[in-house]
Symmetry: C2
Subunit: 308 residues, 2 copies
């Protein structure tokens, strides 16, 4: 357990988040953040309790969310740390629906896709932490909402409990384009892409005039040593005068409060549902990460580091 | 020679335009316009003189531009027809710098790319009818302007007479990425894509944070029976929060007058230069088209159908 320096706070980690973007930190390929060095502490978001503080904003006992990394105790300088109100919702939601995944879904759908009521929104990775929220928000917004996920149980969850209009299991579809056509009779206006690869190819070929594609993640590609080959389909963007845009939630930091307030309200009203899948023990974080990369999770994959 | 019906005008064609988009009319693949049927008149823009009119807006002797198709006389209903002032510039420019190619360059650069002074703009097909104008407009706008084309003569023309800051011959480059890096030391902010394929892959990998890619054409792909395979690089859009957008100049019809007025002024001031390559005789239109598809043209490829 570290000692806080001046302006620092020591947090005892309760929950860790594992997310697809972390795969990029395990590679030397150039990205928007530096890779983690071998022997270094793996970066990642966590929720925990302040156990020692020399920071004016945080007191012992506070529950906070921040980039704790994969460890039991984190010494943080206060940057990117936010206080969590445990009365509002379970503190783990600060890593899910009321945290990065929720914000990613919100800005990707409303800002990058600029989804409008009446439009058809397709989301891939639809049973994941982000995708499951995208579909629910799109539905609330008056969109026809179609999810793509890898498992009949996942499709049952998103179309049942979460209220997606339709969805299909890509592992048993046999023909993504036909599955999409059947479920999107009016084509696809917005595509929230978490996966890339052949699934996204199929959606691109169904995109409507002036369609918008928000590229949030490309999980199908993250484990590859070098880029996979795929058909060149960008001519479709001309035919449909469509737009494709990559985004990072951190770029929306100035609007986090607006989005979190809105999402907390939806949560209280029962309009946003979520599921958490919790792995026990810090030592099992790699296993939880790998399970999530393989699509083994439904909803948000977490690791419980401490029960206090 | 046809007779005009009520509200129609008969035009004797002087010049025909051949353009890459026409390749799409020769295929049954779904696109934004119906394909030309076998035995039908090939669609295409032309400039000619009105020889008979039962349309209130056009009189015998008027020079007009419109979709005449590949023929000597065209009977048009007035839709999409515009009168050309032969005192303003050679009438053939209505098919080039003061026509569709000019408008495509203008809206693609200023609207889709939204290029800003000080930024680096790369254009492929840089010695073609559109690309040669994109670079000149970008340069006027205060951008660093880099062109990619297939020939040392073409590069000499765009960097010499047209004032591009730099350019390279992709046929002898050996390594597109290295050539780009050398000529774009600050990366690429805007990419005006006329070609697609490996050249565009290389530009995408050099795109800057918040870069914009306007997809105007994908000429490298138009002759393929089915899509070529290429590396999946869309993750780069996330890393750079970049945007890729396809566009069609016809969608900007309401602003054509604004753009044409501006371009006519630049032309008068000697700020926009152009080159025409003219094939003689209607019967040689297919040859002119094929030559253009192979990159055999510098500047605008035209066919002279009649000298009157």
């Amino acid at each position: 357990m570290p000692e806080p320096g001046e302006g620092e706070v020591v947090v005892k980690v309760m929950f860790l988040s594992v997310d697809p973007y972390m795969r990029g930190r395990m590679s030397e390929a150039k990205s928007y953040a530096a890779p983690v060095e071998i022997g270094g502490v793996m970066t990642g978001g966590g929720v925990g309790q302040v156990v020692a503080s020399r920071h004016p904003k945080y007191s012992e006992g506070d529950i906070v969310e921040g980039m704790t990394g994969w460890q039991e105790y984190a010494c943080l300088n206060g940057r990117g740390v936010r206080k969590i109100d445990p009365a509002l919702a379970p503190v783990s939601t600060a890593l899910g629906v009321l945290g990065m995944p929720g914000l990613t879904a919100y800005f990707g759908l409303f800002d990058v896709c600029a989804a409008k009521a009446g439009e058809t929104v397709v989301v891939s990775g639809a049973a994941g932490a982000v995708g499951s929220l995208v579909g629910q928000m799109a539905k609330m917004h008056g969109c026809r909402t179609v999810g793509i996920a890898g498992g009949d149980d996942k499709i049952a969850w998103i179309t049942g409990e979460l209220g997606f209009d339709a969805g299909f299991n890509y592992k048993t579809s046999g023909n993504y384009r036909e599955s999409l056509k059947a479920q999107c009779p009016d084509g696809v206006d917005c595509y929230f892409d978490n996966v890339g690869g052949p699934i996204s190819d199929a959606v691109l070929m169904q995109i409507n005039l002036r369609g918008r594609i928000a590229i949030c993640g490309q999980i199908s590609q993250y484990n590859l040593e070098k880029p996979e080959m795929g058909p060149r389909l960008l001519g479709q963007l001309i035919v449909k005068r469509a737009r494709m845009e990559g985004f990072l939630v951190l770029d929306y930091a100035e609007r986090f409060r607006e989005a979190l307030t809105q999402m907390a309200q939806w949560l209280r009203e029962g309009k946003l549902k979520y599921r958490e899948q919790v792995e026990e023990g810090l030592e099992n974080t790699p296993r939880a990460f790998l399970n999530m990369m393989r699509g083994g999770n439904t909803g948000k994959q977490l690791v419980r580091v401490s029960r206090d």
